[in-house]
Every structure is written in C-alpha cells, then in structure tokens.
Symmetry: C2
Subunit: 411 residues, 2 copies
C-alpha cells in the first residue's frame, strides 16, 4: 500500500509512480493498493487498486502536480486509530506500506511500524521524503524542493525584467513565498542571480533564520533603491522578530498545532508605504500555486522523486528493511550525483533541518556560493510536461475501489 | 525610432525584435534608434542605437519578458512637451516612429503624428498593439493577452490538482488576476477546464462585467463546495458592485487618473471566512508576475507580437502609412489564422473593448463556447525559451547611447 500525506508538491506523484512501477517488478507483490487521503483512507478502508490503472496514467503521474491519491493533515492520536490501521492492514494482508510525506507523516509511519512490531504483525514500513520546505533531517534534500525553487527563481528573473523596465527609483516589488520554519524556499530565489552579478535581483531576501528588524529593512530598501532603479524583495512567510514572534502571524493553527502563516508580504508592503513616501510597493503572493508548478518543474527533482519511490520498494522487498525513510545522498565529486540511502524514521520524525547560517551572507539578505552550489544542482533540467491544446495534460487516476472487508468505523 | 510604453508584457520585446529585423531589410533606413522609457526618452534625448545590438540579443528579445527599452506611464500634456518631441525627432532626422503600447500610448502616438502633420514635418507614426488586458478596440486581440491567459490557465489547472487532493468540502482557493476595466484575463482562466467538463475548475469566475453581489457569491461558493470537495475561484482585480463601485478599491490613482486596484482577492477571502464558518480560504495573487511569465508563454502570441512589429515597419515604409495602429485580424475559417491590418490611431486611443456579455454564461460565473473558441487559439504552442543552468536565459540590451545633439531640457 502506498499513501500520500501533508501538502502536495509538483513531484509527490512521481514518487507514487516509482513505487507502483517498481512493485510490478516483484513477483511477491500480489496487489498494489493506494490509500485515499493518507491515513484517513486506511481508517475508512477507502482503498483503490493502483495495479488496475493504465500504464499511461502511471507514467503521467511523473509530471502531474498535487497528490493523486488525495492527502490529509489528520494526526493519528488515539490508540483506537492505530489499532484500526493494523486491523485494515491485516484484513487486506498489507505487508508493505509506503508513505510519502514530511516530518509529521514520517512520525505517523514510525508509530504504525512500531505498533506492528509490538503486535508481531509482519509489516515493512518505508517512508518517502516529500516537502517543498526541504526541512527533513538526514537527507541531503527533499523531493519537491528543487521544483519549487526552480519556479520561484524563474519567476523572480522574469519579474525583474518587468520591474527594471518600470522602475524609476520608486518601485519596490515583494514576492512572498512559502516556508513555515525555514527559509529554504526564499533562499532558493537567489538562483535567479547570474553568476558574478551579486547586484542582480533578488536584491533582498528575508529569511525566518534572521531576526527581522524594521530599521534594517527600511535601510536595506533605501540602499537598493539608490543603487538600482527598483528593489526586488523575496520574503519567506515565516519571518520572526528578535523575540522570535512572527511579524505577521495570524491567529489560526492547524491540526498539528503549527501556526498558519501568511501576510508577511502584506506586512512588508505596508512598511514600505509607511516609511518611504512616494515609493510604490507591489506584492506577488504565489500561495499554493508555487508547490504545484509542474510546468516549471525541475527534471532532476522529478527523477529523484521517482527514484525515491523505487528505492522504498526495493529496500522493503529486497533488503527486508522497515521503519526507515529513503534519503537522498549527494556524491562528493565536482559533478552532481545523487543516490538513495535509508535512515530510521525516528531520526526524521518531527525533526527540522534549518538553513545553515554559514550559507547566508553577513548582510543577512543574500546567500553565498555554498548555498548556490547546493541548490543549483537541484533545478537542472525541465520536467517534460506534455501539452495538449495549449495546456499541460495531467494524469487522473481512475480510482477503482477495493472492496471493503470490515464493518465501517467511526473516526 | 521605436519605443515601448505602459505595462510590460511577456511579448512586447518580440514586437521590438520584429521592428528591428524588418527595418534592416530597407535600404532607406539609415539608423535604428530606441527611446529609453517611451516618450520620456524622447523628451530627454535618451536614445540608444538598436542597430548596434548583436543579432543574438535581438533574437533573444523574442522570448524576453519586460520592456527591454524601459517603459513609462508619463502622459504628454503640455504643448511644450509635444514641441520637444518634434524637436528631438528633427535633430536626429527621425522619419519613422513606432510605439508599442495600450490605449493611452496610442493616444500619445496619435497626438505626435497630428502635430507633425500640422508642422509639415514628414513623419510616419505607426502604433503596435500591446496589452495583457486585451481591451484595445478594432483589433481581434492584443499581443500579450495569449501569454498571460496561458500562464493563468496553466496555473489554475495545476492548483486544481493540489486543491483536489486537500479539499474535504472545506477549502476555497482564490486566484486574483489583473484586469482593470475588463475581465478578459479572469475569463481566460476558463481554458483550464477540459472540453465537455463544465464542472472542472475554475468553478467560479468573477468578472468586472458582472455586478458583484455578496449574497450570490456566498450561495455560489456553497453550491460548489456541496458538489465538489473544494471551490476554485478566479477573480479579476476590478470587481464592481451594482452601483459600479469597486468592491475593494484603494484610494490611489495613477498618472492617467485610473484607480490603482488590488485587494479583490483579499476581499473575497474575507467574505468566505466571515460567511462560511469552518471553511478555509487560500489566496494566490500573481501580481506583476503574470504579465512577465515568458516561461509559460504562448508561441502564437510571441509570433504575432513579432509579426505586428514587422507589419508596422512595412506599413510605414512600403505603404507610406501613418497615424495608424497595426491590428490583428482573425480569419473566418475553422482553422485559426491571423493576419495584420491597420486602423486609425484615433479609433484606438482611449477606447476600451469590453468582454462581450453574450460570451458569459447566464450564471455570470462561467464562459461559454464562443469565448473558449476565441481564446483557445491564442494560447497554442509554447514559447521556445532557452534554458541555461536550469533557468530561462533572457536577453539584455547593450544600450549604446546615441550622442545627444540638443541642449538638455527640463521635463
């Protein structure tokens, strides 16, 4: 069984395609099921037959954004929930479980795996890394990250062409990008700069890693406006002040207790308008579109996501591994190479990898060559999205239901 | 001389490339100058030598967004300004003037042309249509429009994949797009629907052409949430209520007296949160990035923009035309064809072409097949943007200054 969890990405479906195509290679695999909406589908015995999908559809998943199986942010808490998961697994004789997701999802996978071990039910659980936030520990990087920063840096480069044409020393352009706890995505915008052109846009990058100061912000913007004709800013949504408080927090929290952010861009726009009379501030806020932008996706990223799915199946079946997550390991050579490894789920679950402080320049608003070297490899190549009638053609699963065996259960 | 004016697009540089490459075909053309920042560059005698640019650069303009010559929103008002324009033209023996822009720019071109005629100065002035708003009269459509709706409908299709995976009957996703006076861009999002799938996203399109009603909006959203698992909305920035007032107007106005809009998306987000408890609303606001999205540009659009530039030069030199704008004329056949024509600048200046009411369905929130047929032809083909090191490589003009002849003038 394979499932998807957490926020979708441009390449999480490529991982499912990798799982399905690899699973077909192994005679011991009798059925390939997908759970709809992650663990919710297990609890509700809402499963589909992935082996019944056409080869064309599975191939199409390699470039289809979103999460074709549906996803969830449901957190298994009650013992009753965990028991139900194993009950469903036993009923359908599920012996391999692959879960693509971020840290919360790997935590869930870890708990399911441990419970099966306790109960002596032979189940192999392998996590597949997925997050645009790039904040999972151990793995060099996460599938989903390369595509989102390719889209963001592409767009920043385009926006710069437009802003440069309009700017007369009075234009500030702000791009708000995702990134709840870490500035990985905002940092990725630095790739838009041409080599050896440090003054290229983005002129200023504001990261959650650097305490935000209004005084410094205003001074930064004034300095850039004086030097250039316009100022292009990229800001992560999770900016915090010196006391660690979000500069533009909203009150809401999600099911995991994370603050739901947004508004950092509006906040900076307001600061410009209040502090720099006569200067126009324009805001672009990609919202969810950035993590779904398969049309501007990284081929490297999509291929690694697919590879991670394959590696998960190989590890479980060929190496009898369990309770691990697939990691991506970068080679040491000058030429970028990437292979997969494995790490205990407990090492991943609920961990957060911060952007290294030493990759951020002294000025706090730009990235150094170490970051650029790290990130540039991840955006190489263009995802070969097929076009039909002028628009990307995406795959849609048929979703043939697997017959339920158990009585329905209340969540 | 060629100049660019108003908001940049993904293809206005393609028009300049068309002008330059065509001008080189004509022996009577001794020099090819560009004016920096539209009429401002003429007033300031800030001209560059376009013939000195490399062929590679001019070819690169065909896929480079922004306005490579710089643009402006300066409105010539004083007689002194107009006199200065002619003075500069005379000093440099400018006999052909090509101005790519929207309605205000064509108005400026018209006035310059008329003044030259009055003064007996032999000058041929041809306008080149440019606006993502697609609101110029006479021409079937405007270069810039096809690319922006290709980007918007691509993104809506991707966002839908993501939203569908997340939605549990409680997710409203709002995309705010440009369009000050007309809903052409918001309407273009309808292309994201697959043929014969009227319930495909975007589920609701709000246009400035249809008076906005909060009651209807809430009922629309409730209906969609009941039918689908999520509701994807596209809204033009210029929504107005039954009294013709902007629903989310800001106080500012630009140099032409147009209201500077923004905030329609935030306004709808607020309405959802206030009226539908338990429903999450997410906003994406492309801002300027939508009109610069060359990486998702329409090949048809880029080719027509180039063609319009060439046609302008041919009309002026071969047909001795003046005081006209190039128009795009769609063929009557089943297969889309497009050729250029000419229309008097005075017929274009300050006119606005509204989205035909009969192309909007009775429900006021979706487009019919007549619109789809009109718009679909304009997004065909993908602009062949070259990639370097994972990102689009754009052209940058060398901008070799033309020596000034006149004493500097105060604006």
């Amino acid at each position: 069984m394979v499932g998807q969890s957490g926020g979708p990405t441009a390449v999480i479906n490529a991982s499912v395609a990798g799982v399905v195509s690899e699973a077909l290679n192994h005679g011991c695999v009798e059925e390939i099921y997908g759970t709809l909406n992650g663990v919710l589908g297990i609890l509700q015995e809402d499963l589909i037959d992935l082996a019944a999908e056409s080869q064309q559809t599975i191939r199409g998943l390699k470039h289809t954004p979103g999460a074709a199986l549906g996803t969830c942010r449901y957190k298994l808490k009650k013992q009753q929930d965990f028991d139900r998961v194993l009950e469903v697994f036993k009923a359908h004789n599920i012996r391999y479980f692959f879960y693509a997701g971020g840290n919360d999802s790997q935590d869930t996978a870890d708990k399911i795996s441990k419970l099966a071990q306790q109960q002596g039910y032979d189940l192999r659980v392998i996590g597949i890394p997925k997050t645009i936030d790039n904040d999972l520990p151990v793995t060099d990087h996460c599938p989903g990250y390369g595509s989102v920063i390719k889209f963001v840096s592409t767009t920043v480069r385009e926006l710069a062409c437009d802003n440069e044409a309009m700017g007369q020393g009075d234009l500030v352009s702000i791009v708000e990008v995702m990134g709840r706890n870490a500035g990985w995505i905002a940092a990725g915008a630095a790739l838009a700069k041409r080599r050896d052109h440090p003054h290229d846009p983005p002129h200023l990058i504001y990261l959650p890693e650097i305490a935000f100061s209004t005084e410094k912000f205003v001074a930064d913007v004034q300095r850039v406006l004086k030097r250039e004709k316009y100022c292009l800013i990229v800001a992560g949504e999770g900016l915090v002040d010196a006391d660690g408080n979000y500069v533009a927090a909203e009150e809401k929290t999600d099911a995991f207790g994370h603050a739901q952010l947004g508004g950092a861009g509006d906040y900076l726009k307001g600061l410009v308008e209040q502090n720099l009379p006569g200067v126009k501030a324009r805001l672009a806020k990609f919202g969810i579109t950035q993590r779904a932008a398969a049309h501007a996706g990284s081929k490297t990223d999509a291929e690694e996501a697919y590879l991670a799915g394959q590696a998960a199946v190989k590890a479980a079946i060929l190496e009898a591994e369990t309770d691990k997550m697939v990691t991506l390991i970068r080679g040491n050579g000058d030429h970028y190479t990437c292979e997969t490894g494995l790490a205990p789920l407990s090492d991943i679950a609920n961990g957060v990898k911060k952007l290294p402080r030493e990759w951020i320049n002294e000025d706090g608003v730009s990235m150094n060559h170490q970051f650029v070297r790290y990130a540039q490899a991840l955006i190489q190549g263009e995802t070969p999205v097929p076009y039909e009638n002028g628009l990307p053609a995406f795959a849609k699963l048929e979703k043939n239901s697997v017959e339920t065996i158990l009585p329905a259960s209340e969540l």
